[in-house]
């Protein structure tokens, strides 16, 4: 029982989704229908942040977005925040700071931090921690992640190179 075809705008490109099932989440469609597995599937109930994407600019859990309801909205995934073959400042900071271990939470954290730094390039420690409090990481204890935020923030303030 598939639903009518619909189109999603992901990373600036329009994709037609045909033969979709009615209850499919945006996360599912990104991963399994559009070949964009960067958004991760750790809980599928909005409690881990691994599937975070930007929906019309705001950070959301793509597992809680009904895919067919996102028609006409601008969806940005971790695959779309830097041109192919390059890294965004936050991505580079993650590599440099050693903020990556298993990496499963990493795309979601990168997205959440990207959003944070878009509005605040000099966040204090509590602001950073609140901004990423919806992104569970089981490997790092958040220490190097916060170091990465600080690196990326300094870069956006023009104080350092990456």
């Amino acid at each position: 029982m598939s639903i009518d075809p619909y189109a999603l705008t992901v990373n600036g490109r329009e994709h037609e989704i045909s033969e979709g099932w009615p209850g499919e989440s945006l996360l599912w469609v990104l991963r399994e229908r559009l070949g964009l597995p960067g958004s991760k599937n750790a809980c599928e109930e909005g409690e881990c942040g691994s599937c975070s994407v930007r929906l019309d600019g705001e950070i959301v859990c793509s597992c809680l977005v009904l895919a067919a309801s996102a028609v006409g909205q601008e969806i940005t995934t971790v695959e779309g925040i830097a041109p192919d073959g390059t890294l965004s400042d936050v991505q580079q900071a993650f590599v440099d700071a050693g903020a990556v271990q298993c990496g499963f939470c990493t795309p979601g954290l990168v997205m959440a931090i990207d959003v944070l730094l878009d509005s605040d390039t000099d966040p204090d420690d509590l602001t950073v921690r609140e901004a990423i409090s919806g992104n569970l990481c089981r490997c790092t204890g958040y220490g190097r992640v916060i170091e990465a935020v600080n690196l990326a923030a300094a870069f956006r303030r023009g104080e350092t190179d990456l």
Binding site: T77, G134, I146
Partner: protein, 764 residues
Amino acid sequence: MSGTRTTDRTGVAPRTGGPGIGESVPRPDGVPKVTGSFAFSSDLWHDRMLWGGTLRSPHPSARIVSVDIGAAVTITGVHAVLLHDDVPGSKAYGLEHSDQQVLAGEVVRHEGEPVAIVAADHPETVRRALDAIVVEYEVVDPLTDPAAAETAPPIHPDGNLIRRIHLRHGDQQVVGEVQVEGTYEVGMQDQAFLGPESGMAIPVEGGGVDLYIATQWLHADRDQVAACLGLRPERVRLTLAGVGGAFGAREDLSMHVHLCMLAMHTGRPVKMVYSREESFHGHVHRHPARMWYRHHADRDGTLVRVEASLLLDGGAYASSSSAVIANATCFAAGPYRVPSADIEGVVVRTNNPPCGAMRGFGAVQTCFAHEAQMDLLAGALGMDPVELRLRNVLATGDRLVTGQAITGTAPGAEVIRTCVDHPSAASIAEDPMALPGGAGRTADPAHVVRGEALAVGFKNLMFSEGFDDYSSAACRLADGVATITCACAEVGQGFVTLVQQIAHEVLGVQEVVLEPASTETIGSAGSTSASRQTWMSGGAVQKACEEVRVRLLARVADEHGVELDGLVLVDGLVASLTGDLRVDLVSATSDPIHAEVEFRHAPTFPLDEDGQGDAHVSFAFSAHRAIVDVDVGLGLVKVVELTTSQDVGRVLNPVQVVGQLEGGAAQGVGLAVMEEVQLSDGRIRNASFTDYLVPTALDMPPVEIAALIEQPEPGAPFGAKGVGEPPSITSTAAVAAAIRAATGLALPRVPVRPSDIVFGGGAA
């Protein structure tokens, strides 16, 4: 001590200085992981693939009267529904004992035990098919109290006692002038890795199968899978798929055999991904423990004797329970000289969820107990708890309660001193977000009390008790590029980085290629557990590279007619010490040089009937100092700061070491204040990330690294000890002790629940 180097935090540069040992070399998989292009096991995809699913028992204990799959198989899109009788080979598997059913036959022994598996064209079809399978159960009263297990009717043909160790050490008649006694309890912790169990099996023409799976030990999986499929091991090929964390939970099989059965039955690739709820049912947990202790000491604080009785709940199947109870028992007295000990360790079978490996492996539970006892003893003696620990802490040459003398490094005193001497950076919070209760705005500073405490612990590195523990690695040097083959499972710890560093260090090569980990290309690397891969697979890679180096130098000596001992390998050049011969690596290896090795650590031996023996290879020590704020009115806790010192042998990659220390501590904080798989009559009540709480960034404090104690360990590659487990051992004990210090409560149980603080409960 000579040879000791202490690396402070300033040694942890975020940017790399070079590619060799001791540098913060960035991970080679870092870029694909930050861009989302790294393929985790749940990202596997195949044009013709089907989706698999598992029907699980809703009952902790029941007889299966009948299973009707008639309706399920007729659903359009369903390709296979398989049951116990469809398991082609051995019906059971297990790490230490083959006692766990691939699919339940006559009985189910725990909630969530797999009963049937399905392959279909879409996960929604899978779901419907699973719903359409009718299982008639005759429910049996579950055995859920581990204390009753030994006298209860057996729930498994192997009986309810999995292992008992009765360790007796030294003079059994000795009594201390001061004695303290306590009973402690640790709840069931989940590894809660983020990447759910997932994988894909692809049938191979002619009867074999390829399995792509996230695991900790490919070869052990392969052997178990092959036995269950009734195939020779070489017909089953396992390749490591991207692993989203492990922490012990991927040491046992989960979906492995199921996927292969479905693929071989349908002739199609089959992919399976557990949901988070299913993951809680689909892997083993940390053993819950009840522990009674009596410590004896002289009035001057010298430990005289430790008595303990440890009861671990193994759940329905054995998994690695036998090894866990051995660790719990061997390390029950903590990192202290204890001349007399009587420690009984028992692990039993119940109808609770199966328990097995988790980071810290038996030492986490006992560290919580022995450190509480040490604080209690300090109180009884009127002695400073740090002094008490320093007076008794183990050093090289001392004997464990197993009678084994420590021959390697044992900087117990150094980890304590550096940790307590490190200045605290903790300030008093004003923003409610930084107070206990955080975003809930519950705390008033007037009701918040601060506590500080220290905990010390240690643990064995690598496999013990005579296990033939080895790792295989190969190095091929061709055109100046080193290609390393090793089946070590990268689960996030950074082995992939270490391979680059080791190959560079030994061979001076700039380019290092690590082949995918697979059972096809090389022998076993052993498990990514027990803090063993840096030593074992790192050691194997080092040995393989060194052999290549020896052959390379011999070749150049031979080809140029020079003396071998006059040649060195420096900066990508083979050169003579006299300087008149310089051959670059690329041309010297246009004809490839290859070496394949097995690396073993020094042999270990079984424990005798008194739990005595040289059962372990090496030990790592750590200390944590915790500072906590407690809202005594509501029983809420904010961990304000953790400071740690750790015995690391040698730092191979500073940033990766720090990552292990911070991450391990976070899991310890979780166990101390929030993480518990809650059971009710054998059923998990909180199988979700909504209700199984793991620390967020607002729960985890900064970790101050007071010192990385570098005393190179004899026999270890570059002197490096494994660093993964100690952080999760002492952090829990330290946080719990700090809450005690803040509240004056006994708090004999972790996780410490708000009600334990408010009502002074938590009595075991």
